[in-house]
């Protein structure tokens, strides 16, 4: 993997972090506090309601799922991060080989484009509110919305891509500054929505009629759907599967001085994936109660339009929040995807590749159904990228115990460790088949694929490492 594509903050990318650069727990709490309250939260929260999740299941399911996510960060990621003190990409390069890591990063980049596309849709939904441009979700996956909204997506996408091509630092700084305000806006949206639904007493809150009425409305318009307790738990646990099970946050925790830093994601989870999701869901419930006609798309089905939802609750501040949340999420995502593409074509300029990523994201954003399927997309994202974390786990804990060599690509000098390639792709292909052909809930596939990848990696390494050591012995004899 080139240094360009493994950009992870520009420090100690290809060496262990020295003791002098380690950070205390407070830094991690501060960092995670501002993360995970992003543009995606405005889409994901209402989708729980639209999918028919009950309020009690949502409150308890998210609680349990987020606790499991924090435990995964703490006990899966942090020990390896603190022991190796290397980025995910550098560790993978040492195990899987540089070419394979480039391929992994390309896949990562393409998935980022779709995530950024969803955020372009979210931002456009907010920009369209003052202009009276409605956000229609067509019935088929690759159907366009109305021409005005599609044109708006193109404009917003171009602006975001051009800003991303100029570098991510300014936007990252805006995101930093906006983070506490964004969290406050999420909380405000939830409080206002409850008041709009007259759910201002303990009795009304515990009865939850405001929620069940909204669910009944959604079911009447969209047809019966269920999103049960365990689906919520697994989704909340694994929606960041690429970061914890997939070990992407090794790059962050390699700076940790103490294992206690591993508890820091709790603040991001409980602000972003608990309070913000529930608040965003309440926005849709309030709109259904107050102005049900506005919650319906042209096809007569309930549609979560983040811009409209925030505007009804908090006016212009809500719109600004949706625009900034979508923009500050899409921007680094497009930038990161551009870097991944540049890794494949090293002679191309970063600016050009960022614009290509922006174009892909804008095209994806023009299909509103992609953002409406964000619950499935996030699960698919974890299914595809998560299993690489099993490769890191097995290499760290098990390879030597099974009499095999760890960091095999570095030792053998191979650009592609086929044991890793097959162990990664085989479960992922099966997982994608189950998700797209058999209709399995995407987040359910993350852990089975992770386990299968780990087992396959050991078994295949038994053959590939033996074969390679035998052939080198033959050559030397």
């Amino acid at each position: 993997m080139s240094e360009q594509t493994s950009n992870s903050g520009g420090e100690f990318e290809r060496e262990p972090v020295p003791d002098s650069a380690l950070l205390g727990s407070g830094k991690f709490w501060g960092m995670y506090a501002g993360e995970h309250a992003a543009g995606t939260e405005f889409m994901i929260g209402p989708l729980f309601l639209a999918a028919g999740a009950s309020l009690s299941d949502l409150i308890l399911g998210l609680l349990l799922g987020n606790i499991l996510a924090v435990l995964t960060w703490r006990f899966l990621v942090v020990p390896i991060a603190m022991s190796k003190r290397m980025t995910l990409y550098y560790q993978l390069e040492r195990i899987a080989g540089g070419s394979l890591v480039k391929f992994y990063n390309l896949v990562n980049g393409l998935l980022f484009c779709f995530l950024a596309g969803a955020m372009v849709t979210v931002s456009a939904s907010a920009v369209g509110v003052p202009f009276g441009i409605t956000f229609d979700v067509p019935s088929n996956m690759f159907g366009l919305s109305n021409p005005s909204f599609t044109a708006l997506v193109a404009i917003v996408g171009v602006v975001i891509a051009v800003v991303a091509a100029g570098g991510y630092e300014r936007v990252a700084r805006v995101a930093n500054i906006a983070a506490p305000w964004m969290i406050a806006v999420f909380a405000a949206c939830g409080i206002v929505s409850l008041a709009q639904m007259d759910a201002t007493s303990v009795a009304a809150l515990s009865e939850g009629k405001f929620w069940s009425d909204a669910i009944a409305f959604v079911q009447e318009k969209n047809g019966p759907q269920t999103f049960g307790f365990w689906q919520i738990v697994v989704f909340a646990w694994l929606c960041n599967g690429a970061m914890h099970f997939g070990m992407a946050d090794l790059s962050i925790f390699r700076f940790a001085r103490s294992k206690a830093s591993g508890w820091a994601p709790a603040i991001g989870m409980f602000l972003g994936h608990y309070m913000a999701w529930i608040s965003a869901a309440l926005l849709l419930a309030a709109l259904i109660k107050l102005q049900p006609s506005l919650a319906l798309g042209t096809d007569g089905k309930v549609t979560a339009n983040p811009g409209l939802l925030a505007f009804q609750s908090l006016g212009w501040a809500g719109i600004i929040c949706v625009v900034i949340a979508g923009w500050t999420t899409a921007n680094p995502t497009i930038y990161r995807a551009g870097l991944a593409f540049q890794g494949i074509l090293p002679k191309s300029s970063r600016t050009a590749m960022t614009l290509v990523a922006g174009a892909v994201a804008t095209i994806a954003g023009a299909f509103p159904n992609l953002s409406a399927q964000l619950l499935d997309f996030v699960g698919t994202y974890g299914t595809v990228l998560g299993p690489m974390g099993a490769v890191i786990f097995v290499d760290f804990y098990l390879m030597k115990k099974f009499g095999l060599q760890n960091e095999y690509a570095t030792r053998s000098g191979t650009p592609i460790n086929f044991a890793v390639l097959i162990a990664w792709l085989l479960p992922v292909v099966v997982g994608l088949y189950l998700i797209f052909q058999q209709g399995v809930f995407a987040a359910y596939a993350v852990i089975p694929c992770w386990i299968a990848c780990g087992i396959l990696f050991i078994v295949l390494s038994k053959f590939t490492q033996k074969a390679s050591s035998e052939s080198s012995a033959t050559v030397s004899s």
Partner: protein, 65 residues
């Protein structure tokens, strides 16, 4: 200067949250909440950059979900 900016940021942030609570208990109207939130938003983005110049977190290029 920093201290004053921090205090203004705190006040502007409370302009986003406190009126919502007042609306929740029925003390003010929704329009007042919306105007206060807009004023708080504008104030936050004017005052906060004056003092919040903390270093970008490691892996600021990473993607949030």
């Amino acid at each position: 200067m920093n201290k004053i900016a921090k205090v203004i940021s705190l006040i502007t942030l409370s302009l986003v949250v406190v009126p919502c609570l007042l609306y929740f208990v029925g003390a003010i109207e929704l329009d007042a909440v919306k105007w206060a939130a807009l004023a708080g938003t504008i104030g936050w983005f004017i005052s906060t950059p004056l003092w919040m110049s903390r270093k970008l977190p490691v892996d600021a290029t990473e993607v949030e979900i």
